[in-house]
Point group: C2
Chain length 276, copies 2
């Protein structure tokens, strides 16, 4: 069960590090979350709609999706979950889920008790601050999705999603060479973008033929990020990312200043996406 080799920084740590400066202790606490990790195979629901989740989950490896099934059998994927994403930190306990979360590929999930989670947040303001930033970013992504579905055509929607994924994989250090894990079926893509699988297929073909992307064996490589961004109308600015200049005010409590110190070290945000 335990992790035998001392793992390198894992996704969640990396992600939070973009928002706040984590101490060695913070890092250790996060690392310990992985102790209660379990493996889940592909196409399995982690949480079902209507259920009242009794604990929190964090995806540590693989990919999952939040989705809703409509009366007519159709399905809408709300967001894709990547390693380091927490299932429902923002859902109050004792509340029924209004959507399900299911794996897309075989994944690993760390289970975190609510009490334990609350205790960690209470004692570690930096982590708390980081998580708040993270929640804000997730909400920004929801808004972006609305813009996509409402006002972008099929090509721009796909392009945008690709940009978003690349950007998110970069944030967790899993997009070396603009190449990232690509386990999505075209049907799943369609369900996320409000399009049909066949049309997704044609859009992807166009992108391949025009040299924007290359797909092979479960990985996607973005060949021309600039052109892809332009096609998408993507700007990393819209995804709330930067460190907050001032520590956020929480529900009733201000977090210490140190949590949000500015620090070099990480490359400027969107460095890969932005560069020529």
């Amino acid at each position: 069960m335990g992790v035998d080799a001392p793992r390198a920084e894992f996704a969640f740590q990396r992600k939070l590090s973009r928002f706040v400066t984590l101490s060695v202790e913070d890092m250790a606490i996060l690392a310990r979350l992985r102790d209660a990790e379990i493996a889940i195979s592909a196409d399995v629901d982690i949480v079902r709609e209507g259920e009242v989740p009794h604990s929190l989950f964090m995806l540590t490896e693989g990919m999952a999706a939040r989705y809703r099934v409509l009366p007519d059998g159709g399905r809408q994927i709300l967001t894709f979950m990547l390693p380091g994403d927490v299932c429902d930190a923002h859902t109050a306990p004792r509340r029924r889920m209004d959507h399900a979360i299911g794996t897309i590929v075989a994944s690993r999930v760390a289970m975190i008790g609510r009490a334990q989670f609350a205790a960690i947040l209470a004692r570690h303001p930096r982590l708390s601050a980081g998580l708040q930033c993270n929640a804000l970013q997730e909400e920004a992504m929801l808004r972006e999705r609305i813009v996509s579905l409402g006002r972008r055509d099929a090509h721009a929607r796909v392009a945008y999603l690709l940009c978003e994924l690349l950007w998110r994989f970069e944030a967790i250090g899993q997009a070396a060479g603009r190449r990232f894990c690509w386990p999505l079926t075209q049907a799943e893509l369609g369900d996320a973008l409000g399009l049909t699988a066949v049309y997704i297929n044609r859009v992807l073909r166009d992108f391949r033929h025009s040299g924007l992307i290359a797909v092979q064996g479960g990985t996607l490589c973005v060949l021309d990020p600039d052109r892809l961004q332009r096609r998408a109308g993507f700007s990393p600015d819209y995804l709330n990312v930067g460190r907050t200049a001032e520590p956020p005010v929480f529900w009733g409590r201000t977090v210490r200043r140190e949590a949000a110190a500015c620090e070099p070290g990480l490359p400027p945000l969107g460095a890969v996406m932005g560069a020529a």
Copy 2:
């Protein structure tokens, strides 16, 4: 300036009352928020995109919309703001807005300093809990919008928005007789639902002709809520509404039990929408 007559329960109080039981003191605190109220005429931005808001706003009368303008000049309305909605309680301070907020009709807005707001939350756990519930509900509405734009056709989208608005106006006690304030132009509706004004027009005509709704002089009346709901695939369950059975855990702090006591008084949720 000042409110001369002792106002009845106002929108914000009513809304929070659906989530938590407010004490007389809580009510008084909320009422005092209206002291710093200002009037804003129609089609004016309260907050602009890119701006860093220095204080919070609460809409007390009228209607507003969060929106984004795209490079091609198109506009996407993310959500409509009704009386009692708070502008950006969930946006961390010192963070640039990724969307604008503008009035739709002449409105009134109460300005709340961040420090003052934080102080209130810190000292009044019930209000804090209510606001958290409110934030969850807003996020649920964002998800619903995604489902609408992704998987519903034009008729269902419009029907759904009407259901949502009726439901929200009920929650603030402003939908007597299933009749509510309707200042939206068809262009604005289109911008919210990813459709064109002309098509919105045709959909509304269909709804009027089939006896679902009636519009006259700035108010809309839902004649047949059942049929409208069916057309929309709407279920009030999806909008997180019920009181939490247990007090929510906040970022690091648990709120006292009393805040979430169950209380009769308000009609069962969705009573109007659900009844035959």
